[in-house]
Symmetry: D2
Subunit: 353 residues, 4 copies
């Protein structure tokens, strides 16, 4: 029987278009450290995608992308505000603090996984930031789509960026699942980022079908050797960098990134819809991208596990558990059928209506 | 006409065996961050290769491998001795210092690219290391094969390691071209490393035909979460780590690493031999691995460049220049013919005898 | 009229005994960097005070003491739990993160300024610490006396240290006002620290009448050059270190530290008692050391300010404000009289009964 | 018999004028972290001294001054050129690298302890600094007076600063013994620093009679909270900062700094002159400030030691040794007499003519 793997979209392989690009490049020889013919196309390709000139720094991991991006836009004596479930704070083992020794992250209460204008404003307004004993706030970090599969509306981004401007903060967007947010929103990449005031975006490709490729997109781009040196100094300037570049180029060519994300999102919607039909199952967050959080009786969840399906238990107790199921570009109807059937068929405790 | 690319072995593509392994893995789904079925084979495979239990940390770049390895074996208040042409000092943009804030590298005069027992001993013996104002020496770093294509003999490694032991220093081996040294020496990997006293080896695969894969091999292995956390914290624990692991596994399967290195070394020998036949050309270093350093009239070197061949001008003036030519697993006879022919055919200033 | 300065005990000058010691030492010449005859007495003097062998590292600031101490007992990939009003988190501008790049501080909800066993246990027990994506907890930091003038009872320290032992965490005590806690508790320094499981104490002297002197006291002392090197590397090994040492020696000679702290505590008790007699004034925290937190009508607090008294407004709105008043070894009855009289005499809104 | 202490000028006590200032301040209460009435005079006082607006950051150690100053003017991916006997490289245990993780120091061959235009230019001109694999040069550091007691002439400073400007480098001056250089040169502080192009000076007071006080003087001063935050973050913003400030103010009041330095320099000249009269003694460096380097038979040097005099053996073998003798503001004729007499009286091997 099909065993669905909803553990994470980073459990995926490599999608055909990107694999083809890698294979083609594998047979070429070219210069190293980004001086090759593929890497030299990145700036133009991403500038077109974002409708303005941008700087592009390709790296192999999302942790590196976020930590480097934060270092590029905030000083070492500063403080970056993020949500209390932000990946940069909860799941990157201190990388932002390692890349920028002395800097701090301040997790603020989130609503549906999102920072709210009210919470950020209340935090910023309620303190005297002139004391030399306190790290001053220097940045805000948003995750789009969020860690619980919700998305920021354009107006929410714009409001937070306005606040940032008032307090002279830079704004970082962790876009490990940016594609999923873009396709869900029907907005242009530009409208979801720099047009609202985002300074730097970590454009994720790995979870969306790449092997290992993320791009730091700097919107406030000045021609500077600094960014490459920071990347090199932290070991993130690959000698055969072109193998990152071709993944990124293939990803945005012919809107592959949106096509893949759209497939993943559609499967999440389908899964949500099927789960809504199950008794004793509750959807925990609005499903706006490719993640479904639902709660169910813990006994049912344990049976799901025994059936061999992959997923995360987000929280829970003996009675009920919250499950995170992440769909991806290659999730199939059969995955969803098998998953829901394991859940609903489980000892009567959950039943598909 | 064939244009040889001898700029660097990091200009190569991906060799067929490794590409096949990547393609196969691309169609699989599996768990992330090294919890997959391929990564779990690394420890066993490399332990067999090195005839003892080792810890293996896969990373995507040589800079990351070296910087993390040094951080793992030396404290932040220490000092690592290396050769005055060591890649870690000259060409990693401060990465070792970035990964281990406060640590220092001390470049010592090299002989044929190698640290010598005499130089290191004289440096260590000539100072009082008990002063609290001086960073104490805590490590030695060797490059094998060296940056000028020479190799350390087993006895040289052993002597330096003995010295290290006397002064309680750890020993790191930068093995970006370890395969080339092993195949040249006809010694076992164990005999070239831990049996002489090496504590950590950066086992290079990228220059030898991988896409992006290096392995930190810890010989003084204790089961420790520390190493993975340091890797994660610096952004080097890839989510789809298995794509590094399959490259490394394919590389050591059926001695592919030695086969590739052997091909590269043979081509270097062939190039050297052809160059020896050219008038006004001098071989600058013993050719013991896959690099050939030769000097020639600068006018001849400029014609080589105009002919479209790739190489590095190491040093030089108006009269003569020193050229570095690096061969690789995919260098062909045609490359060498074309290169030497461009050189010897050049305005009579160089002539193949 | 007398203007009381209750802003902070770091607004004090230098008490006579310590000034005498400095003057005496000022006329001597001696060796530098702690190789002098005064510094060499530190270990013995503090070992006697704490009834066991300790290592003593003198530094000139409390921030340096805390940051170095945390670096000495926790790794760079770890996480230190502290209270949500801990000075190390709120008022040291990221120093702990700067001294130990990559490490994190996690502020937990405090009760009367103290970490509780329940809160810490619930935090530790509720998460899976084996994930390589999460910084593991590696330390706990307590402030004794706390930032709001309360003190940990021996049993509270002991319970938290037991918890730390269970989870293999080190325990740091920020003792900027340790003297005030000791004199208040009537317990020995040993009983308030290592006998309960504290690994390192920052023994404060500056706020208690020194010019600039704090001592890092390592209870798990191994003879190690490491501690001095970390101190030197961060610029905290003063060349004329003996001027720190004589302050520390004078401070513990003839129990000066307890005498000074006792005077400060007595004045806080006196201030508290006088404030309790004022209508519309409320004491906000148990007064257990040398700090009094009280709330009063904001109009009354503004008059206090206009009268020229020094204090901190901790929080507040148009109606009422919370004031922090810190007493010190040199606070006089006149200070308290003047302060209370300014408060109670103010437009009838506060009236001493 | 008098035992001279020529080990270092950091072996001195505190000169009367500075001690008086400390005593006076000890009886005052005032605000902390530089918000006091003394610290607020620093900017004006030093701006007058240097004939232009400057920023002043007081710290307690020379290591802190240098490391913070370098961090303030160079980026973390850069490289600072210094002499091969520079204190920042040889005797600060990696502090510059600790304060600025990733940065490098490059020691260049010195002549009489000084960097020369020729050496620096040859280093800078001989390399391609556009490679992303190499840390680019971003600063030059001069020590004035140097570690061997020589001084840079105004023209030497000016030439090096011109070179720096050409390559867009910042220039740092380690002025632990700046007073000795100024008084020796008969030039104004402005002429020896910013008028030639120095960007930041570490103005030393400790070796010149202070207890513990150095001032970072920023000539390219913009009003910025950054500098105070960097100081705080590294633990160098003392709570009772005014005790540093009064030392610095007393030091420059009525030219005390020049008076003290002049006394020290005169004693060095006197010692040099007496040593020139000794047979078998050779002066090793021009005596231009307060340090005398001389060589003598090793047997004679050992007798000096046994006589109880303090000094450093800089280098040497069984035959001859080089001795460093440092004079200070409080060196007396008796010290010199006793020292020379011990040397010349020693078994006939050295004899005062």
């Amino acid at each position: 029987m099909t065993k669905a793997n909803f553990r994470s979209d980073n459990n995926t392989g490599v999608c055909p278009e990107i694999l083809d690009a890698l294979i083609e490049e594998a047979h070429r020889k070219d210069d190293s450290y980004g001086r090759d013919s593929q890497s030299s196309q990145l700036k133009k390709a991403f500038s077109e995608l974002f409708e303005r000139e941008v700087e592009v720094i390709p790296v192999a991991s999302g942790t590196a992308a976020n930590a480097l991006a934060l270092r590029m836009i905030t000083p070492s004596y500063g403080m970056v505000l993020c949500s209390d479930i932000a990946h940069i704070d909860a799941h990157e083992a201190g990388a932002p603090q390692f890349f920028n020794a002395g800097s701090k992250l301040v997790p603020l209460t989130s609503s549906y996984g999102k920072l709210t204008h009210a919470t950020v404003e209340s935090y910023l307004a309620g303190r005297d930031w002139n004391s030399v004993n306190c790290s001053p706030p220097t940045g805000i970090s948003l995750t789009q789509a969020t860690e619980v599969g919700t998305t920021y509306a354009t107006s929410e981004i714009s409001n937070l960026c306005d606040l940032a401007r008032t307090y002279k903060l830079s704004v970082h967007m962790d876009g490990a699942r940016f594609a999923n947010a873009v396709t869900a929103s029907n907005k242009s990449p530009a409208n979801l980022t720099w047009r609202q005031g985002i300074d730097v975006l970590c454009f994720g490709a790995t979870k969306n079908g790449a092997m290992c490729a993320e791009a730091i997109i700097l919107f406030r781009a000045e021609p500077s050797p600094k960014h490459k040196l920071l990347s090199k100094q932290s070991g993130h300037l690959l000698s055969k960098m072109r193998f990152l570049s071709v993944q990124l180029l293939a990803m945005i060519r012919d809107d592959l990134w949106l096509k893949n994300a759209n497939a993943a999102n559609a499967m999440a919607t389908r899964l949500e819809s099927r789960l809504r039909d199950c008794s004793r199952v509750r959807i925990e967050y609005p499903v706006q991208a490719n993640e479904v959080f639902f709660s169910a009786p813990t006994r049912a969840v344990e049976k799901l596990k025994r059936a061999g399906h992959g997923f995360h238990v987000w929280s829970g107790d003996d009675e009920r558990s919250v499950v995170r199921a992440v769909t991806s570009y290659d999730t199939s109807d059969a995955d969803i059928d098998a998953f829901v059937s394991s859940l609903s068929g489980s000892s009567g405790s959950v039943r598909e209506n």
